[in-house]
Symmetry: C2
Subunit: 182 residues, 2 copies
Amino acid sequence: MQAAARAFADKGFHATTTRDIASGAGLSPAGVYVHFGSKEELLFNLSRTGHESALREVRAAVADAATPTQQLADLVATFSQWHAEQYEIARVVQYEHHHLTPEHHAEVLALRKQIDAVVRGILEAGTREGLFTIDDIGDTALALLSIAVDVARWYSPTIRRTPAQIGATNAHLALRLVGAAT
Amino acid sequence: MQAAARAFADKGFHATTTRDIASGAGLSPAGVYVHFGSKEELLFNLSRTGHESALREVRAAVADAATPTQQLADLVATFSQWHAEQYEIARVVQYEHHHLTPEHHAEVLALRKQIDAVVRGILEAGTREGLFTIDDIGDTALALLSIAVDVARWYSPTIRRTPAQIGATNAHLALRLVGAAT
DNA sequence: ACGGTGACTAAGCGCTTGCTTAGTTTCGCA
DNA sequence: TGCGAAACTAAGCAAGCGCTTAGTCACCGT
């Protein structure tokens, strides 16, 4: 799965051959099929566990914070940091999920909607408590997720900023986006 | 090129066959090769003209605005709107450019850097004139571009908002991000 | 010592891929 | 009307694809 994640992130699902994955894992081409029934099954396992991992981290960050302001800051920081630290899996999660079979795609989309719902929930709470000034919750949630998700696109381990620093920066920008006091 | 743009945007470069492109254009598989030497050449033509089109629009928007505040708003609005209106080409531009040959990739990267430079220039001018409050110009430019570029990922013609409305929303969010008075 | 089980490979099958070749049709222009 | 060039196709080639098959090997409880 590690070899597959690396290859999918680097070249994309369809440009990756099962022979790439096998040799990346130190196996013969047939060796992969002892553990996975198909290339798509490998993508699905990566995509599902990746989404679950992100959702788990996001929920933990929100649970540990007291106010909507702190929740939003921690959520964006955690989610951004995850996209940097796990940038290979994050790229598979963000850019390859539409190559899944319809059934697998639906399963993964449900997890994505849960992440979206967490963000919306915080924005609603913050607006209700008068902490945030927001025109439209859906549009703002989308912009917040854009900033965090896009980290996977441009992040590289050779970059100036550390994942933690990226998380802190994006958390700060997020609070500005919702008009929260900092 | 239209058929190729549609197919590349829909399924990705490697998942698209030359037969897909040919039949999409109403040609036999060999008919494509009368006009293009290879599938990669088609991608390069789409990617180059797409980048040039985006850069042209962005530069025009900036040239027509008086203050850095107005320039930033118009740039983000125009760039976001472009990613919605031309969402098929935009997806090719944003997600397929790394499948180009190294030479072609370098040529397209130069165009991307020019777009980046326009954004940075406005942020520097706005900061210099005391209009913007920004921690780091590079980080902020990246976040602004993330919001605009990500439109190509989620936009669909069936969506509630029009491309112009998306541009207006994102322009408003952009001004918030840089701490500009609205 | 031995039988069963799971991990693994060498070889390769059937199919699809990007692209070519050889030949036909269409078309602008003299 | 006739001609050269450009646009196009039917057929297919070599290579690479996902995946299978038949068989070997290492290991572990009895």
